[in-house]
């Protein structure tokens, strides 16, 4: 738990810094943080809003990044299947890369679903608090960071930190390399349609790979 929470701090700090560079007010920064609560999509949306991109593109881009929550929602669903609607909604809201990672790492220790849910809420609430504090800290710091530090490079770096641990075998690496190459080739397409096509093609490739394995 502690090392994962520690990973939230630099990520949150980057989000806060980028928000302050985008001239968001403190209220806007923390409001976005509270409502969206998904750092990677907040980073992408903020960069697009800085360029005054239309709302539709901002929202679609953010949602493409957040498609991975489908995976987390599926992983969490067996534990909360018999829980009340309130618990289901609260556990949905708290789904993040980090709370999912913590959950899957401890899966075999849970004797009952309610044990698992209690563990989940403990960890996820702790991460939630650390996250908001880190963004607030980053927002305050963002006004002072020297330009020579090239903090905008921290955005792709934090995406690297998200994706590398998910590359569990060569097949995942293959999909990631494919996605990189296609996204560069399609980069000049208008209204970020290249991104949508890259996402579809890469998921298509993943479907092809997983099908092959099932039939053999």
């Amino acid at each position: 738990m502690i090392p994962i929470t520690a990973g939230v701090i630099p990520f949150g700090a980057i989000v806060g810094t980028v928000c302050s560079e985008a001239q968001f007010s403190f209220l806007q920064t923390m409001g976005m943080n509270l409502f969206v609560y998904a750092g990677a999509s907040q980073l992408a949306a903020t960069e697009l809003m800085m360029k005054n991109t239309t709302t539709l593109i901002v929202v679609l881009t953010g949602l493409i990044i957040n498609l991975r929550f489908l995976l987390y929602s599926a992983a969490m669903s067996p534990f909360v299947q018999k829980s009340s609607l309130v618990v289901k909604m609260a556990s949905s809201y708290l789904l993040t890369d980090q709370s999912y990672a913590t959950m899957t790492a401890h899966q075999e220790y849970f004797k009952t679903s309610s044990d698992a849910v209690r563990f989940y809420f403990g960890g996820a609430l702790c991460m939630n608090l650390v996250w908001h504090a880190s963004v607030a800290g980053g927002f305050a710091f963002g006004n002072f960071a020297p330009a020579a530090w090239a903090l905008d490079f921290a955005v792709p770096l934090s995406f690297v930190a998200l994706v590398i641990p998910t590359l569990k075998s060569r097949k995942y690496v293959l999909v990631a390399v494919f996605s990189s190459i296609v996204s560069v080739i399609l980069h000049t397409m208008p209204y970020r349609t290249g991104l949508i096509i890259t996402a579809l093609l890469s998921i298509g490739l993943a479907a092809l790979i997983t099908r092959k394995k099932a039939s053999s």
Binding site: V8, T55, V58, R68, L71, S73, Y93, A154, P156, I203
Partner: protein, 108 residues
Amino acid sequence: MMESRYFWSSVFLLALGTIVIRFSIIGMSSKIKINDRVKELFSYIPSAILPAFIAPAVFFDQGHVSLLFGKERLVVLFFASMVCFVTRSTLATIGMGLIVLYLVSLIG
């Protein structure tokens, strides 16, 4: 301050869509069962999508280190990926990446 109506409508719609994705499978958990094949496919979503945000941002960046043809960010990104692969640490990945980029840019 970012223009209010534009900002909040974007944030509101993004928040709404995100909670729908988060709630989707959990909300249906008592009605449908997700089979392993679909779960496995879901596990490919990060590797299918996140690189599409990293690669163009870094590939098309024109830096100033002539020794690396201005592509110092690309080189540093490969290095940071290795750091991440070995350490699995967000702090080490971001920290080392920024420090090495700073050092490399001193050359140019």
